[in-house]
Symmetry: C2
Subunit: 183 residues, 2 copies
């Protein structure tokens, strides 16, 4: 099974790296996580450049597709050529987004008639696309999930793992990063 | 003011990236965050390669020095040449570590007679170095702070920001990533 994260320039660091770390805590030979973009590497909003594992054209083959966030989503949502490369299928794929990544889900037609959450500064724009925007850290509608803000990435990654492997696998992954509690 | 994160190969992704994202949410012309290592880039335990901004020899000039974690700490803690390059001064610097990064603090003599926390699998080794290991997500002893596990990176980054700029600056940075709450 394959999970991919969609990355672009000026991505919000934590919206990629939090899910990336958590998803990689599942260790199975038939499971892999990859970062997909349009270039060999992409640079975050803070200036961190990271290599990609493949291109967005490969997202259609993944079991789970998670979109990052960042100011570039406002540009990419109007880029028909970019959007056409995904060819996602929400009937057989789990698809999610963090924060302003919900704009790309909407632009791909995945949020029509659906509820979704997003970062506060993106709410009006997402609502203008016909989405019912709700104030919640995490919203699931069928095979589509949205999270807001960064720390809701824990919910998003947990949802992805549980969708593929069950709640026990999710709980095991999240337990590894939970702060140590006094005994 | 300058904050640096000490990175090495096989670092735990979230123990670098969570603090990195949060620390970068302070936006002031006299403030910067940099990643320091021993090579031009380092590769995480999940295989993500990121560029460094400088070498560990520069850590002695920083206001805040935060150590990452990972299996390499068990090697580096016995590497006298590596440790000698830091020349840190806990009287004028705030120094912290995530998880197994506490081993490096201990090896640098920064935890003598002090309480500290670390990842459960590192507890015995840290205690053997003479440190009083406590079960808590975050421990501050004067200018030295330790966090365990990954999500305690929020406490560590918050402590660093508050130490330099006060609690209001810390709260503003953390508010940006707090999940959206129902209204």
């Amino acid at each position: 099974m394959e999970l991919v994260q969609i990355v672009f320039d000026r991505f919000t660091d934590l919206d990629v790296f939090l899910a990336w770390d958590l998803l990689n805590r599942v260790r199975r030979p038939d499971y892999r996580v990859r970062l997909l973009g349009t270039q060999p590497s992409h640079t975050s909003i803070t200036g961190l450049t990271i290599p990609m594992h493949g291109t967005i054209d490969e997202a259609k083959h993944a079991d789970v597709v998670l979109f990052a966030s960042g100011p570039e989503t406002r540009v990419l949502m109007d880029d028909a050529g970019y959007l056409a490369r995904f060819a996602l299928d929400p009937r057989r794929q789990k698809i999610g987004a963090m924060c302003s990544g919900a704009l790309l889900l909407a632009a791909l037609g995945l949020l029509e008639g659906k509820r979704a959450t997003t970062y506060p500064t993106t709410k009006d724009l997402l609502a203008a696309l016909g989405v019912t925007v709700v104030d919640a850290p995490f919203v699931v509608e069928g095979n589509i999930a949205t999270g807001a803000a960064c720390l809701a990435g824990i919910d998003l990654a947990g949802w992805a793992i549980a969708s593929l492997l069950g709640e026990e696998a999710r709980d095991a992954a999240l337990a590894e990063v939970a702060p140590v509690t006094p005994n």
